[in-house]
């Protein structure tokens, strides 16, 4: 099985991202228009909508087929609709990149959109095909809550320490979200409040779980050699990696619920493509899939930022805080934005875009060179993982 590197072949030259919130007054069509409008208009005339040769649109449940994008934008164009659990938005970018890199198109747009707030339900829902009724209908919090007791037991953390670690992760993300005008939740939350929040599943309280919101984001991809025609601050794609797993974790007796093999594999592949040998020191910042606080904890190890069994220590030491050596989710993460499934992956790239172009405001990091985005969909034991590495320089 081969996977040929793609490093510096394509670049993102424009991006747009709506606020993520309950957009009661906007449909999925409206949100697509808003994200794409921002994306196009910031090029100051260098790109018009008619210049886009093809589209990939990611949405889990807010639209079917390419008309999800071609109808609101009034274009007649090649459009593919993508769904890959919570890696949907990222995968639309991945496919857009391959479309440009293959030479089939010169300019491709990736869009992600989700309208979760038109549904009356608490938490995420999914429409499964007809079945025999025997599959446990895990809610997302229940399935991810399995990580916490397993991690604590394996690495010898007592309940109080585990709680402190999870609380720090939630606190840190909300501190960052408070600095972000696009976030759903824009206030810091005290650690006492987080500790006292009502329990949802296992050890997870309300503040351990990312919320539900609406949003959309868009990115324009061109060949790397054309990038500077469109922007002074292109973002070069160094690596794209996707692993969809075997599901063995829930069906075969050796998975121990303390890591995501799919994440580990997708990270190793991404680092190989990008030529990164020491992620902890070479990655400037990362946007990771913090659907739940124990997820973010485990991801630090699966992405190679922490030694196995040591991420909890790194969290408490503030390594991943905005002011730390490796800021994680500087924009506030899924915790502050909520998780409109089709849009989240592109929202992560949008933060990278702002950081590299010096437009991240109070969240601005000093001279970032490599950013990593990560999305995870499914549940511990059976999931899909995406990793991208982007940077502001060639080479």
């Amino acid at each position: 099985m081969s996977s040929n590197g793609f490093k510096d072949r394509v670049a993102i030259v424009a991006m747009g991202c709506t606020k993520f919130k309950d957009h009661w007054d906007k449909s999925a069509d409206d949100l697509v228009v808003d994200a794409v409008e921002e994306c196009i208009s910031q090029t100051n005339g260098r790109i018009e909508l008619k210049d886009v040769d093809a589209y990939w649109v990611g949405t889990q449940g807010s639209g079917m087929a390419g008309v999800t994008v071609s109808r609101p934008l009034h274009v007649s164009a090649p459009v593919t609709r993508i769904e890959n659990y919570c890696a949907t938005g990222s995968d639309s970018l991945r496919n857009a990149a391959y479309a440009v890199g293959s030479g089939a198109y010169d300019m491709v747009m990736a869009v992600g959109v989700e309208k979760l707030k038109d549904s009356p339900y608490s938490g995420l829902t999914a429409a499964w095909p007809p079945a025999d009724g025997t599959r446990v209908d895990w809610t997302a919090p229940a399935s991810f809550s399995l990580l916490a007791p397993a991690y604590a037991k394996k690495f010898g953390l007592d309940n109080e320490t585990m709680r402190d670690v999870l609380t720090h992760i939630a606190w840190k993300s909300h501190q960052n979200g408070a600095l972000n005008s696009r976030a759903q939740f824009r206030k810091g939350v005290s650690k006492e409040t987080i500790n006292r929040s009502p329990q949802i599943a296992g050890q997870l309280g309300v503040f351990d779980c990312s919320g539900v919101s609406d949003g959309s984001a868009a990115a324009i991809v061109v060949r790397a050699e054309d990038a500077y025609k469109y922007t002074d601050t292109p973002m070069f794609v160094k690596a794209l990696s996707l692993v969809s797993g075997t599901g063995a974790g829930l069906r075969v007796s050796d998975y121990d619920f303390t890591s995501f093999p799919e994440v580990e594999a997708s990270a190793i592949e991404a680092y190989r493509q990008a030529g990164v040998t020491n992620p902890r020191s070479e990655i400037s910042f990362a946007e990771v899939h913090d659907c739940f606080t124990p997820t973010e904890l485990v991801l630090m190890e699966d992405l190679g930022f922490s030694e196995r069994g040591m991420a909890w220590r790194d969290v408490l030491d503030g390594l991943f805080d905005l002011g730390g050596a490796l800021p994680i989710n500087p924009d506030g993460g899924l915790k502050s934005f909520g998780h409109p499934i089709g849009a989240s992956g592109l929202r992560m790239l949008f933060e990278c875009w702002l950081q590299f172009s010096g437009n991240a405001g109070e969240r601005q990091l000093e001279n970032p060179s490599l950013g990593l985005t990560h999305n995870l969909g499914g549940q511990p034991g059976e999931c899909v993982s995406f990793v991208s590495i982007v940077g502001n320089n060639l080479g």
Binding site: P120, Y121, S122, G123, T125, W128, P130, A131, D132, G133, T134, V136, D137, W138, T139, P141, A142, S143, S145, L146, P149, A150, K153, Q199, I200, A201, G202, T246, A248, L250, R251, V252, S253, Y255, D256, F257, G381
Partner: protein, 455 residues
């Protein structure tokens, strides 16, 4: 000679103190408690529990299944076939629902006797809130195996019957609760026949009499007609419809000595009775029965509000979650060995066990060649678990576990009949067949786990 080879009784873990009814409704205070089936139990699942307690050889070798209940989970569709599937009886063994009246207790036993098969009796018995039927009722099941083995624990001597058309207790199919005429009427109406039938039985003071009736006055009358024979007392925790017959019979067999005569009487739309004689083998059965009773979980106190809610008499606010999806017929049918029999697929080439079955082997990659391996009698070990407070369940909290079976297979289940505090990583659990939910007019049946009681 045909006799009883084995007999079991199943009573739910739930016990509801009757004083709660008085507290809420101001009705006369009932004393004691009644058995209450869990929200995920019904007459089908309780029948399966009763049969799974029988010697498994007898179940595999049974030549027919007769299932009696006055509260079937389905009508038109057979419930006995679900029991047949979950207890893994052979395909060619006939299984029939014997419904829908209290007389079905004897209907199922006579048919099982004649066909040398299994009779299972199962009922959820209650009535309008604050009434006698609710207070004196119970949920339970029991199973009896008939055969001509020399290891019978009791040899059947004879049956006597008297069918009477009398409107004493009745229910329209569209109603939830049965109605009854004044107890005294029923007792009067059947008194003479009861008297004459009992007079012609050879009852001595060594006889043991077990009497079942939805009319307590009729039962008392019968008890008074048997001289100084021992009479099995009423069940402490309520009258369980057709199951009361098998519970009373079990109670009689518990105290029988070899050579004792046991007379089982059912007073319902007439009189049915069977006379049997306990054999030498009764002692072994009594020991086995005592061990089976020890395997019962500690009783769990049921709140009256939950009882009303589970029985559909009290609708409560539910969380904002989607309705469960009803199982679709084609996938349920093609997966019925898994769904009803908890049958995993074991690869013929490399032995890897798949739960649920898969088309391609995870061990060696071969496609389509698997043997069936039922997991329903195995013990599992909890790998990890969680308490889900977001999902809807009629009996919070919802506990979900991932379980390893020791043969490489792993699967996820809901936990039932347990306080969440009992669940821990490494806990041993057993499988139990339950109704997960009912949606869009379809019952969703599957297996759950519960902790194995330890002594």
């Amino acid at each position: 000679m045909t006799g009883i080879l084995d007999i079991t009784q199943y009573t739910p873990r739930g016990l509801m103190q009757l004083s709660q009814i008085a507290s809420l409704l101001g009705t006369p205070s009932g004393r004691g408690a009644r058995f209450v089936a869990n929200f995920d139990e019904d007459t089908t699942t309780m029948s399966i529990e009763a049969i799974r307690m029988l010697d498994s050889d007898l179940v595999i070798g049974a030549s027919a299944l007769w299932m009696a209940t006055t509260s079937p989970a389905y009508m038109v569709k057979s419930n006995a076939t679900a029991v047949h599937a979950a207890t893994q009886m052979r395909r060619e063994v006939p299984s029939f629902d014997v419904g829908v009246s209290l007389r079905a207790a004897f209907g199922s036993m006579r048919a099982a006797h004649d066909s040398r098969g299994i009779a299972v009796m199962s009922d959820t018995w209650s009535g309008l809130p604050g009434g006698e039927d609710e207070r004196l009722g119970a949920d339970a099941a029991g199973a009896v195996v008939f055969g001509s083995d020399e290891n019978s624990i009791a040899i059947i001597k004879h049956w006597r019957s008297s069918s009477v058309e009398v409107l004493e207790r009745w229910k329209l199919p569209t109603e939830i609760d049965s109605q009854s005429w004044d107890d005294r009427f029923g007792t009067e109406a059947l008194g003479a026949i009861l008297n004459s039938l009992l007079e012609s039985e050879n009852i001595s003071d060594k006889s043991i009499i077990a009497i079942s009736s939805a009319n307590p006055r009729s039962a008392s009358l019968a008890a008074g007609l048997v001289g100084s024979a021992r009479v099995v007392p009423n069940m402490e925790h309520g009258f369980s419809g057709v199951a009361d017959t098998v519970l009373k019979l079990t109670a009689a067999l518990e105290i029988a000595q070899p050579g004792d005569n046991i007379l089982l009487v059912l007073i319902s739309d007439g009189i049915e009775l069977v006379m049997m004689e306990a054999t030498e083998c009764i002692k072994d059965w009594q020991e086995k029965h005592e061990n089976r009773n020890k395997q019962r979980l500690a009783k769990h106190a049921v709140k009256y509000a939950d009882f009303l809610s589970w029985r559909g008499r009290l609708s409560k606010q539910v969380p904002r979650r989607p309705e469960p999806q009803a199982p679709a017929s084609p996938p349920s049918f093609r997966n019925s060995d898994w769904k009803f029999g908890l049958a995993a697929a074991k690869c013929i080439e490399c032995g890897a066990v798949h739960a649920p079955p898969e088309h391609r082997c995870r061990g060696c990659g071969q496609v389509g060649n698997f043997d069936s391996l039922s997991l329903s009698r195995l013990r599992g070990t909890v790998v990890t678990f969680t308490i889900d407070k977001l999902a809807y369940t009629p009996a919070p909290p919802l506990v979900l576990v991932v379980v390893d079976f020791g043969n490489g297979a792993r699967a996820s289940f809901e936990v039932t009949d347990s306080d969440s505090s009992e669940i821990s990583i490494g806990l041993e659990v057993e499988l139990v067949f339950r109704r997960i939910n009912t949606a869009a007019g379809v019952h969703n049946y599957f297996w759950k786990v519960r902790p194995i009681p330890n002594f």
